[in-house]
């Protein structure tokens, strides 16, 4: 007979990831926390001591503005990505099995190329002598190259493009689980296709939409590569700000304070997600 494992023995399975997370996630986080309350060493690094001066500095309207802009960029990116991803996920979920496999493959295909390389490729696409401008000029649609790069538009293009798979996949997974007889039942009860979508399909996919929002919103908020490569001078979001504190301004404590704020902010978002969207299915287990 097969041996049944006891719960305490199963806990051992958690040991390797626990060690990994402690070493490479919790420890650096604690270091950042300590840095954020330490005085600044002008040569870079930190001095011994305790100060809240860096947190006080965050309240400066300049930095608050950047934070609000970051939230806005992440939110708008998330909304655009959602609007583009949903129809794709919907089509995939109800496609024939063969088409479905091909589409899944196409959605994850971009991951075969490095993110940075893909962002630089947009420079070639959107630049003044880029593919888009060349085509439009040749077609005579425009006579002067358009400024498509180094502005807010380019930042959104980069963010939306990079995030699409992360939004498509969870929504697809949710819709793919849905039994088509639910749609038939809705039609059978008198609801047309549009009402069936709003009352049955969309609510059914909420868990996937919520997961997609989290997967897109959070990385976008902390990202600094996309505005750096595709953005202009005023496309600074919190990721760039932190990046500059560490690499350019050599102000590690202030960078740490900003990072700490970001981490706590995101923890709030994730807590809300877990509370209201029940991704672990806890409610189902306890009330069932």
């Amino acid at each position: 007979m097969r041996k049944r494992f006891r719960i305490s023995e199963l806990h051992l399975l958690l040991a390797p990831p626990a060690v990994w997370l402690t070493l490479f996630f919790v420890a650096p986080l604690l270091i950042v926390l300590v840095f954020s309350v330490s005085p600044q060493d002008v040569n870079g690094g930190v001095l011994r001591g305790f100060t809240l001066e860096h947190y006080r500095r965050i309240i400066d309207p300049l930095y608050l503005g950047i934070m609000l802009q970051s939230l806005a960029v992440a939110a708008i990116t998330t909304i655009i990505t959602l609007l583009l991803a949903y129809p794709v996920a919907y089509y995939m979920a109800f496609a024939a099995p063969r088409t479905k496999k091909i589409l899944i493959f196409l959605v994850i295909l971009p991951f075969w190329t490095n993110f940075l390389v893909r962002m630089y490729s947009f420079v070639a696409i959107l630049g003044t002598d880029g593919v888009v401008n060349l085509v439009l000029l040749k077609l005579g649609v425009i006579h002067e190259p358009l400024q498509l790069l180094h502005n807010t538009f380019a930042v959104y293009v980069g963010f939306v493009y990079g995030n699409l798979p992360y939004m498509i996949m969870p929504i697809f997974a949710a819709l793919d689980r849905m039994n088509t007889s639910l749609l038939e039942a809705s039609m059978d009860l008198g609801a047309g296709p549009v009402r069936t979508f709003w009352k049955i399909t969309l609510p059914y996919s909420y868990s996937g939409v919520a997961a997609g929002i989290v997967f897109v919103f959070i990385p976008t908020l902390g990202n600094f590569v996309v505005p750096e490569i595709l953005g202009g001078a005023d496309n600074v979001i919190i990721g760039n700000l932190i990046n500059r504190q560490f690499l350019t301004s050599r102000n590690w404590p202030f960078g740490s304070a900003l990072s700490t704020m970001l981490v706590f902010g995101l923890m709030v978002v994730i807590t809300i997600y877990i509370r209201y969207f029940d991704p672990m299915g806890k409610k189902r287990l306890t009330t069932g």
């Binding site: 007889s181 038939e184 039609m187 059978d188 059914y204 069932g288």
Partner: protein, 359 residues
């Protein structure tokens, strides 16, 4: 009233439903019976509007429905997997159709309450489907369909996912409910017991066509084809030909060996090949030769299978054919009838028993 006229459904070269015509009067409990792939579910789905017919007419209350979308048909369906909306409470599930039809809030509440009471689920309205047992979910699906008072209710194997005891109990409730609400039911099943117990009329389907349509007793007692005779219950087939016939009876020769009298009029001419069908319960084992109103063939008892209410005896004829006889155990005990394996007995049956069909 529902009428199907020459309805055909093809999937490429495959003909799922082949030129089916049938009429179901208002208030009837009609059953489509057949094994999987016979086309019964396709017919149901065409009536509901989930499938398009390739040709033919589907007429409901005098109007051809074939091109109407599912959401404009006065038809509701109870799905095999119930298809309850998982993100809604039981009440919201049942009230869905009424909300779509823009009924007022008080009317929705009243009718949902009535529908839940009808299926014995009063007080379950606030629950979610995944908090209900299979039998309860089935009732919710039923209430959700009935609450709209459709002129036609379609049921796609609604009891197949339930365990046997609950299915049997629900079966009785279903018949009672149908009588009470008076809505026409079209019920698809592969389970012949269900079909015989529930339906006013049964259509037996095979390879996309209706083999026979009639009352349960008609189907069981007077099968008109070998398929129907074999599919419903168990049946012994005696091959033979008509030797002679009169107006009210005929003489058959079975396997060129045994001559038997059958007191039934036949339209089959003398000399033609026939199948003589006898149910196991129409046959009896005996040691004594029968009266002149009965036929007999001698056979050797090869095995007995105890089935509780009855015992099934398998006998072998002189030509090696196996014949199955079913006898009531209670009556056998009253009469002190015991039969031993490998002994020779007489297979006896009444001259008026059995059906003769063309081979």
């Amino acid at each position: 009233m529902l009428e199907l006229r020459n309805v055909t459904r093809k999937y490429g070269a495959v003909v799922a439903v082949n030129n089916v015509s049938l009429t179901v009067p208002k208030g009837e409990f009609f059953c489509l019976l057949g094994s999987s792939g016979c086309g019964k579910t396709t017919i149901l789905r065409m009536i509901a509007g989930f499938e398009q017919r390739t040709s033919g007419q589907i007429i409901l209350n005098g109007r051809d429905m074939a091109d109407e979308p599912a959401y404009r048909r006065d038809v509701n369906t109870v799905f095999q997997n119930y298809a309850l909306f998982p993100h809604m409470t039981v009440s919201d599930n049942v009230g869905y159709g009424l909300r779509i039809r823009k009924c007022t809030r008080p009317e929705i509440d009243r009718r949902v309450g009535e529908a839940l009471a009808q299926v014995g689920l009063t007080g379950f309205g606030v629950r979610r489907p995944d908090q209900l047992s299979g039998g309860q979910q089935q009732r919710v699906a039923l209430a959700r369909a009935l609450v709209n008072r459709p002129s036609l209710l379609l049921l796609d194997e609604p009891l197949s996912a339930l365990d046997k005891k609950i299915a049997e109990q629900t079966r009785l409730e279903l018949v009672e409910l149908q009588r009470r609400v008076g809505i026409t039911f079209i019920y698809v099943t592969h389970n012949q017991t269900e079909a015989l117990a529930l339906a006013d009329r049964v259509a037996v389907m095979h390879n996309g066509v209706i083999e026979q349509c009639g009352t349960p007793s008609d189907i069981y007692e007077h099968p008109r084809s070998r398929f129907v005779a074999d599919f419903i219950g168990s049946m012994n087939f005696f091959e033979g030909q008509v030797v002679s016939r009169t107006e009210r009876s005929c003489r058959l020769r079975l396997w060129e060996t045994w001559d038997v009298e059958v007191h039934k009029p036949v339209t089959i001419a003398a000399g033609e090949r026939i199948l003589y069908c006898l149910r196991p319960e129409q046959l009896k084992l005996s040691l004594l030769p029968p009266s002149d109103q009965a036929n007999s063939i001698s056979a050797i008892l090869r095995s007995k299978v105890y089935e509780g209410e009855t015992t099934r005896y398998i006998l072998e004829l002189a030509n090696g054919r196996k014949i199955s006889v079913s006898q009531n155990n209670y009556i056998a005990r009253l009469w002190h009838d015991f039969y031993d394996v490998n002994e020779e007995y007489l297979l006896v049956w009444n001259c008026s028993s059995g059906e003769i069909i063309r081979a």
